[in-house]
Amino acid sequence: MNFDDRLVRVKWVFLLLLLVVPLRLVALQLGWRQQLNTDPHNSRLLEKVAFRGRVLDRHGQLLAYSRGNHRIYPQGSLPSHWTGFYSVDRGVGGAERWKNELLRERREENGVTSRPGHELRLSLDLPRQRSLERVFPAEQGAALLVDLDRGQVLAAISKPDFQPARVGADWRTWQHDERAPLLNRPFLGLYPAGPLARAWSWKQLPRRPVSLMDWTSPQPVKGQLLISPGQVAYYLLKSGSELPLSQLFSEHVQPWRRPPELAPLQKCAQGWQWSCVARLEQQVVTWAVALKPPYLVVLVWENSDQEKAALRAAWKSI
């Protein structure tokens, strides 16, 4: 056997070795693809932000949408506690979290092809939210506007608020901020009710705060009743049965039926305005509640009992 024959042999050996490559590729697609595409380690299964659904207010104004790998919040901090935030590093909050299953990208049967997530329309009324923010100049506090006829929250303000788009950059600052900008005050902020509870003499009020979300509250301090603006609205709407927060928030769920207990309460409180100052140790809280059917407004100022003038100005515009 001479050199030429040996060269041909070596060439064939390498060709056969190389032929293994396409066979392997095909075999991998046929035999292993499904398992690999559903493996829990596969980071390609993580949600693609580009396919996340949009969030709109009741008039169809854009509150959150995706562009490329970024989540855009065109209204800035105004509805920040409604939309919440979305961040690959920091997770989700607000409606982004609460309706995550609805918003997130969907996958085709093959598990690879992405389809856009659903659109979420909130009960938020953006013009009313803006005007409520204008009449509520508190640096710290919460404001809530509820439509009692429809049982929907039209506007909710939590101060201080945050820029949802900056969740990645500012997270640590927010975490260490004593004023807790991430706290959703209208629903999760607990304030001493003080004379507010006595003024209504709600015998049915339990001696502990009732949660509106899947959330457990801290124990009330020294027997003081702690209550959130959302709970005040909730008791005015209907006391007793648990009202899911989604019903207050959204239009998607079943139509609202006016609870029977509401009618007499509403009658007696026709055009009623009430305000009080509650104290809990160092914390001073100014409450303001107004019921102008069909709207209910609940305002809370934190750490200020010298804002009566602002309060009165707010009343006039409401």
């Binding site: 056997m1 050199f3 030429d4 040996r6 060269l7 041909v8 070596v10 060439k11 390498f14 060709l15 070795l17 190389l18 293994v20 490559v21 396409p22 392997r24 590729l25 095909v26 991998l28 697609q29 292993w32 693809r33 690999l36 595409n37 493996d39 380690h41 596969n42 980071s43 390609r44 690879v112």
Partner: protein, 435 residues
């Protein structure tokens, strides 16, 4: 997506075109429009249209990359005419095939990391200049035989110098650093080793009686020395590469299958010893056997490569639309996987076809050559490139433990590209009379 399928069909037609030219005689000297020029035009058109596809899918690459691509293209045309200037009418398919491989690799690097693509374009230009210089200077490859001593010293100096001047990266000192540039000497050493072996063994290849014991002893000594050096430097890829190269050369020269099989058995013991002795060998074998089970540490690379392959499926996600950035070392060792994710198994098979045709053409250069030294040199270079492709492709497809080597002309890497151009220059020089 349809545009991509059309592009892949065009690539397939190009493969058919190459096969049609495979044995066709060369047109008469002085023909204005030779097949080589046409093939160059076709391969560059494929590269430009792939870039267009990337722009259509992603479209955020600035105008500068078009300039870089134009420079890349002009560089290849300069090489095409430079070879004529150097009076080197070599094989007419090697240059267009290498051009296509480098172009496809370049577009993939641009898609993976734009900064790399600029570097790579510069390296291609440097490599093409080297190609012209080597072909212009080495009129006859016989000249190499006179440089046995200097080449040997250069070879040993480069590899041993790593112990003193080597720059450490990823736990192994395998690079020389010169300001912003780094250089991996083993890439040049492997070409030098093929040259030295060819010089040493050329008489024996002609006449088996001249395969004397001293020659074999020198070969075995060089082999052991190289393997020891590489194992000490923890550079497993080149160690494996040289092992296959020496085996192939030994078989080519001696024709004794028993020796080859015996050495293979011996190497199995050696591999087991390495497995028991060295932690980093054990880690790689574990990662190979069960990458998903070792996802958190050693199996991470291979797992991500497998995920990418499965994600791409038959047709691929579309160039620029997949997520190959999740694969570590996507631009160097794993570029074929990144390609397969975005262009699918179909595109992967087509790229494999081009690479295989290029490698077969290298073997053909050895077959058509007349001079025994040149034949052995060409055969050695062809074996080197083929074995290198096998090792890296098998590694990334989980057919054997992963060792970090580059894919010829496709992967990112300056020194590897430079050595590929030197190999191309040698092959073009020795096919000058034939094709």
């Amino acid at each position: 997506m349809n545009a991509q399928l059309a592009w892949e069909v065009a690539l397939g037609l190009f493969l058919v075109w190459i096969l049609m030219l495979w044995r066709r005689p060369v047109p008469a000297q002085g023909a204005a429009w030779s097949n080589e020029g046409l093939t160059m035009v076709l391969s560059q058109a494929l590269v430009f249209s792939l870039y267009g596809l990337l722009e259509a899918h992603v479209g955020n690459h600035g105008r500068w990359f078009l300039v870089a691509l134009a420079a890349w293209s002009l560089g290849w045309w300069a090489a095409y005419f430079g070879l004529r200037w150097a009076r080197c009418r070599g094989d007419r398919l090697l240059l267009p095939l290498a051009c296509l491989l480098s172009g496809l690799g370049w577009v993939m690097q641009l898609r993976l990391e734009q900064a790399l693509a600029v570097n790579q374009a510069c390296w291609v230009l440097v490599g093409l200049a080297t190609l012209i210089l080597v072909t212009a200077y080495l009129k006859r490859l016989d000249q190499l035989r006179r440089w046995y001593g200097p080449l040997l010293i250069l070879c040993l100096g480069l590899q041993c110098g790593l112990f003193v001047f080597g720059k450490e990266r990823n736990g192994a000192a395998l690079w020389y650093a010169l300001g912003p540039f780094s250089f991996q000497p083993v890439e040049i050493v492997k070409v030098l080793v093929v040259c030295l072996l060819a010089i040493l063994l050329a008489p024996a290849a002609q006449d088996p009686k001249r395969l004397t014991r001293p020659v074999l002893a020198v070969m075995a000594g060089a082999w052991l020395l190289l393997e020891t050096l590489l194992v000490l430097q923890k550079d497993l890829g080149p160690a494996l590469l040289f092992f296959g190269l020496f085996l192939a050369m030994l078989y080519l020269v001696s024709g004794r299958l028993r020796w080859v099989l015996g050495l293979l058995c011996l190497s199995l013991f050696g591999a087991m010893a390495a497995y028991n002795r060295f932690g980093h060998v054990r880690v790689r074998v574990e990662a190979w056997l069960d990458p998903l089970g070792h996802y958190q540490d050693s199996g991470y690379q291979i797992s991500e490569a497998l995920f990418a392959l499965a994600w791409g499926g038959w047709q691929g996600t579309g160039l620029g639309l997949g997520e190959p950035y999740r694969i570590p070392e996507a631009a160097t060792d794993f570029i074929y996987v990144a390609w397969c994710e975005e262009l699918g198994t179909l595109g992967g098979c087509l790229l494999w076809g081009i690479l295989t045709l290029f490698l077969l053409r290298c073997f053909r250069a050895a077959q058509v050559s007349q001079d025994p030294f040149e034949r052995l040199l060409a055969a050695g270079l062809a074996c080197l490139m083929s074995w290198q492709s096998c090792v890296v492709l098998f590694g990334i497809l989980k057919l054997m433990p992963m060792t970090g080597i580059t894919l010829p002309f496709i992967s990112y890497g300056g020194s590897s590209l430079l050595s590929n151009f030197v190999i191309l220059a040698l092959l073009l020089r020795m096919t000058r009379r034939e094709l």
